[in-house]
């Protein structure tokens, strides 16, 4: 086995990248004249909308909850992978939020929410300067940022235990600066999917919809993850000589379940918060729908494994819950509670059989992120097209009210089908391209001996649990002499 030493010649490259990043982030910001700004202290906004305080309170607090989902992802992902990669996994979760925050600040937000250009991209608000230095705009920025970070972090778990850390840093920047924001613009930034006249005509008053991001956030993350998993190949030991899958047990089920609870908790910011306004009282029904779909999917997944293997499986139950949450994310505001239960039940099936399907086809998704976020994300978009019951409008109580297949608007279902296809094509396509280029240039996977010793040691020169794994070695480093 090779010796793992610090200092591997990458230093110069990293120095360069660091300097470029700093310049990129700071210079343009300072260059822009600070004089011409938005409502930076909020006095004007408050005067115009006396309900702004409660709406800000709602949006920001929900945004905080969504931010906290980063911790949930970290715990789920590390809990379901091995101890020798634990530090690497949680570091990736930390760093995609760190890098993503900066990328979305500099570039992403402007592309996503800036002034629309031909329905394709946004074009204003770079570095949150100028008119974007405004309490409402920055409130929106914050809420969109935490969504962007969620999409980014999904990939981390699926590809865990084998990619180079440097590749992950680059990926984090690209996804938060380009891939996510552009698609996000199409759906939420006034872009073509939601707002192009032909889409609006097709849907009878509204184009494709996605209340809180089954597609925008989850399926995007899930399908990038799929592309990355395919290009990376399975972990060593994931398949035996005959190509049969072998389980690689997660190292800390307590943390995995903690993470699942944190995500469930955070999702109450994700879905209800997406009204961006507390005066949309539909928020209570959104919260209830969110909870019911999660519960129904979790129960379904538990019973599926119980029936199949004779004992209820914890891993898939957690994944089931998350799949239910993903599936209800798009339709949460537009469906009834009982429909949410059905949407959840279907998600439970998708999570289990989707995972086994990928596994059988040689795709090693370490934590099951592709079925949970990808497949259930697409199902959420379709479910919205089916079950929307016409009691609520497009983020407002005003008409046009959103109706799906079962409630007399089959053409809206077609909008959603189009969205599902576009969403998959964009995420899988750009994701594949990105990782393919990286693979052909710097390489995306660590060497086998690095993978075997674990990415904690090979990528970070650390161990996550020294007192348990190396126990007395650590102790013995003590030069203490008892008198």
């Amino acid at each position: 086995m090779a010796v793992f030493e610090l200092g591997d010649g990458m230093r110069k490259a990293v120095v360069l990248v660091t300097i470029v990043l700093i310049l990129m982030l700071v210079t343009p910001a300072m260059a822009i004249p600070a004089g011409w700004i938005g409502d930076a202290n909020g006095a004007k906004t408050l005067k115009e909308n006396p309900r702004a305080p409660v709406n800000f309170t709602w949006t920001l607090l929900c945004g905080f909850l969504v931010m906290f989902m980063q911790a949930g992802f970290a715990m789920v992902e590390t809990g379901f992978t091995r101890a020798k990669n634990c530090a690497n996994v949680v570091m990736k979760n930390m760093i995609d939020y760190v890098i993503g925050s900066l990328a979305f600040f500099a570039i992403g937000f402007a592309l996503m929410m800036g002034k629309d250009w031909h329905g394709l991209i946004g074009t204003t608000g770079w570095f949150l300067t100028g008119k974007a230095y405004d309490v409402s705009t920055i409130c929106l920025w914050f809420f969109e940022l935490v969504f962007c970070a969620t999409a980014a972090t999904i990939v981390s778990g699926a590809i865990a235990e084998r990619p180079k850390f440097s590749v992950y840093v680059i990926y984090s920047f690209i996804v938060s600066a380009l891939i996510y924001p552009i698609y996000g613009h199409w759906m939420w930034g006034g872009g073509w999917l939601s707002s192009a006249p032909f889409m609006v005509k097709l849907g009878h008053g509204y184009g494709a919809l996605d209340f809180a991001g089954s597609g925008v956030v989850h399926a995007i993350g899930g399908y990038i993850a799929l592309a990355a998993c395919i290009l990376l190949g399975p972990r060593i030991g994931r398949y035996d000589e005959n190509g049969n899958p072998r389980p690689i047990l997660g190292h800390n089920i307590a943390l995995a379940v903690l993470g699942t609870f944190i995500l469930w908790f955070g999702w109450f910011g994700f879905n209800p918060g997406s009204t961006l306004a507390a005066d949309q009282l539909r928020i209570s029904i959104i919260a209830a729908n969110t909870n019911l779909a999660a519960a129904a999917a979790g129960a379904t997944a538990m019973f599926i494994t119980w029936i199949k293997n004779g004992k209820p499986d914890i891993g898939l139950t957690c994944n089931g819950v998350l799949g239910g949450l993903v599936a209800i994310t798009a339709p949460c505001a537009w469906v009834t509670p009982w429909a949410s239960v059905i949407i959840g039940i279907v998600a439970g099936f998708i999570v289990c059989y989707g995972y086994w399907f990928l596994e059988k086809h040689g795709i090693d998704d370490a934590v099951g992120a592709v079925p949970v976020h990808g497949f259930c994300g697409s199902w959420g978009l379709l479910a919205l097209g089916i079950f929307a019951d016409g009691t609520y409008g497009v983020y407002t109580t005003q008409p046009p009210l959103v109706r799906g297949l079962l409630y007399g608007n089959p053409r809206f279902f077609i909008c959603q089908v189009i969205d599902v296809i576009v969403n998959f094509a964009w995420a899988f396509g750009t994701g594949f391209l990105l990782f393919w280029i990286l693979k052909k240039t710097i390489g995306i996977r660590v060497r086998p001996e690095e993978e075997i010793i674990g990415l904690d040691i090979s990528e970070h020169a650390t161990v996550a649990y020294p007192n348990f794994v190396y126990s007395s070695s650590m102790e013995s480093e003590t030069p203490f002499r008892m008198k």
């Binding site: 899958p245 072998r246 389980p247 690689i248 047990l249 997660g250 599926i304 494994t305 199949k308 293997n309 004992k311 499986d313 891993g315 898939l316 994944n319 289990c352 995972y355 086994w356 596994e359 099951g368």
Partner: protein, 112 residues
Amino acid sequence: MKKIEAIIRAEKLGDVKNALESKGFYGMTVTDVRGRGRQKGIQLQFKGRTMEIDLLPKVKIEIVVRDEDVEEVVELISNFARTGNVGDGKIFVIPVENAVRIRTGERGDKAL
């Protein structure tokens, strides 16, 4: 001197320890090990995929005793570690040439 190495069920350690203690055999060293023998393994599942673990957790007791005590200690361990089911474990007797008590430097039987 002999070293008696006994691989037993973890849940029997308490009984064995007490039995030895009551006969004056106090010193011992214990290690967590995993073993396989006639006992069948355990099936595990993870995300619905199953696998078999055939190395099961056991406890290894090491006791160095004077030659004349070997038989008694072996008997004690046998009796108190036995459940009668597969997996009860094994005892091995290994020759020891010398022993040293680090604290005092005493050697041989005195060191035990």
